[in-house]
């Protein structure tokens, strides 16, 4: 019958403690990996959501522009209008025509391209003779902040 080594229980305890430490360490590593993965996944999802949001905004702006600029169905004409075009450089009558739809498209496109309220307002006044631009600007950019 072998005699029990008095140091064995301590060795067993040490071994168990080491195993436990290893298990805890592995669990901590796994947890850290899970957190990293979750963060990476969240970053990816945020990025994808941002791209989707940009596309939705772009699509909505295009749809808005389409609403403002409805394309009529092609009309059939009774005869060709392809008459020779006058190419002289004579006096031309002013062509200024007010176009609410055109003004709104201009404002929308300028807003999308990053133009400021002031820049858009200036163009609406100079190119479309619109005195009160607030209605168009408020509709597209939202109401101006009150001081």
């Amino acid at each position: 019958m072998s005699k029990k080594n008095p140091s064995e229980p301590r060795a067993l305890t040490t071994s168990t403690a080491e195993r436990l430490a290893a298990i805890v360490e592995a669990a901590e590593r796994a947890a850290a990996q899970v957190i990293d993965d979750a963060e990476e996944q969240a970053r990816r999802q945020l990025q994808e959501a941002s791209v989707r949001a940009d596309r939705i905004v772009a699509e909505r702006l295009r749809a808005l522009a389409d609403e403002l600029d409805p394309r009529p169905a092609p009309v059939s004409r009774p005869e060709s209008h392809l008459r020779p075009v006058e190419t002289g450089e004579g006096e031309r009558a002013p062509q200024r025509r007010s176009s609410s739809a055109g003004a709104r498209i201009l404002a929308t496109q300028m807003a999308v391209s990053g133009s400021s309220r002031g820049e858009i307002e200036q163009r609406l006044r100079s190119d479309f003779d619109i005195e009160d631009t607030s209605e168009i600007l408020d509709a597209i950019l939202g109401p101006e902040d009150q001081p």
Binding site: D54, R55, A58, E59, R62, A65, D69, R71, P72, P74, V75, S76, R77, S80, H81, L82, R83, V85, E86, T87, G88, E89, R92, A93, Q95, R96, R97, S99, A101, G102, A103, I105, L106, Q109, M110, V112, S113, G114, S115, S116, E119, R123, D127, F128
Partner: protein, 397 residues
């Protein structure tokens, strides 16, 4: 090899299609160029609106270096990521349809012409016609040339491709008259570039849009010079009251690498089908990588606002000079109309001799197309140089 040697070789070997200024540029950085004798120049031509992000922009250089070291060409028979990513970026930033890549602006317009003609045939038009404006410039290949009235009139280059007509510049009524059942497209530059920087009025653009809609024709914007931020928005049409069905881009798109693109709206996206069009080099990974780098710089609201503000400041400063009659254009695409009698070519030559590179597209006009990244003090230097040259010119008359 010095400039004299180069001139001798040019005289012997190069076709005489250009009248070059007697300068050999050897280096560029930002808005600056240096010639072979070490002289510094301020570049307010930007390689004709190509170097919009400045000469040798580090981001573009790195993108080209990296891509050239990895893969330069495969043909369009295979996928490459830069091409597809660039197509997505161009479409999403503009008309939302499809993209066809080319190697130049004139080729981009050839694609647009082809789309327009096929689109018209689908409407039952047997002999489609494309309408453009007098003094428009759309390129020098035969389709684009036929839409460039000034050059198409040269009998020595005939016969021209049929099916093109021109109307007086910015004449909305003439345009309405010209557009009819046969019209496949109205092909226009929203701001004429090569003719001397002449913007079309909003009224005429609205007339073009309306006329096209009435007959089912396509409105095509040639944004080869106006696009990629030149006017203070990514595309010039964004500062107009209309949206085209097709737009063409080139020049600044590649930041110095040759690339063109024809971008459609969704409505015109399905016109071209397999076999209708193609190109061996177009959409190559190096040019597309460069273009992605360019768009990464230019498609930035802060930069575009700066372009608008600097353009407005430059315009005001030029208008204050004696000898300047008017300043046309938008953003940093400006035509300086000189007071009658001033020889713009002589003025341009003097400016070059004094270290400022500009262009003279027509008698009486200086064309300014500085890099969009130009610094405020460089704009002040350019205005000062033009003012001094005008004073000198007046004193010598």
């Amino acid at each position: 090899m010095n400039l004299t040697d180069l001139q001798a070789l040019e005289e012997r070997y190069l076709m005489r299609t250009y009248k070059r200024a007697p300068v050999e540029f050897v280096r560029g950085e930002g808005a600056l160029l240096w010639d072979s004798e070490g002289r510094e120049y301020l570049d307010f031509l930007g390689g004709i609106s190509v170097c919009s992000v400045g000469h040798c922009n580090p981001d573009v250089v790195e993108a080209v270096r990296e891509q050239a070291g990895r893969l330069m060409h495969t043909s369009n028979l295979f996928f490459t990521e830069p091409m597809v990513r660039l197509a997505e970026r161009l479409s999403e930033s503009s008309l939302g349809g499809r993209v066809f890549f080319s190697n130049s602006g004139t080729e981009a317009n050839e694609c647009a012409i082809k789309i327009a003609r096929k689109h018209a045939h689908r409407r039952g038009v047997e002999e489609p016609e494309i309408v453009s404006f007098d003094k428009d410039f759309h390129g020098r290949t035969y389709g684009a040339l036929a839409a460039t009235p000034r050059l198409a009139a040269d009998p020595d280059l005939g016969p021209m491709l049929p099916g093109f007509r021109a109307v007086p510049f910015d004449d909305g009524d003439a345009l309405r008259e010209a557009v009819g059942e046969r019209t496949a497209a109205v092909l226009i530059e929203p701001i004429q570039g090569e003719s001397g920087i002449y913007p079309l009025s909003d009224e005429t653009l609205l007339a073009a849009r309306q006329a096209c809609d009435e007959v089912g024709a396509l409105l095509v914007f040639d944004e080869i010079q106006t696009g990629v931020g030149r006017t203070g928005s990514l595309w010039a049409y964004e500062q107009t009251p209309v949206r085209p069905d097709v737009l063409t881009s080139a020049k600044a798109l590649g930041g110095g690498m040759p690339i063109g693109a024809c971008v459609t709206s969704p409505a015109a996206a399905e016109v071209l089908e397999p076999g209708d069009h193609g190109s061996t080099f177009a959409g190559g990974p190096v040019a597309c990588a460069a273009a992605l780098a360019v768009l990464g710089i230019v498609d930035d609201p802060t930069l575009l606002r700066r372009v608008r503000e600097q353009g407005a400041g430059l315009r005001d400063a030029l208008l204050a000079l004696d000898g300047v009659r008017e300043v046309r254009g938008r953003g940093l695409m400006l035509g300086v109309g000189l007071v009658g009698g001033i020889d713009a070519a002589a003025l341009g030559a003097e400016l070059l001799a004094n270290g400022l590179v500009v262009n003279v597209p027509e008698p009486g006009t200086l064309r300014l197309l500085p890099p969009l990244t130009v610094e405020a003090d460089q704009i002040d230097r350019a205005v000062g140089a033009i003012g001094s040259a005008l004073l000198s010119y007046a004193a010598n008359q």
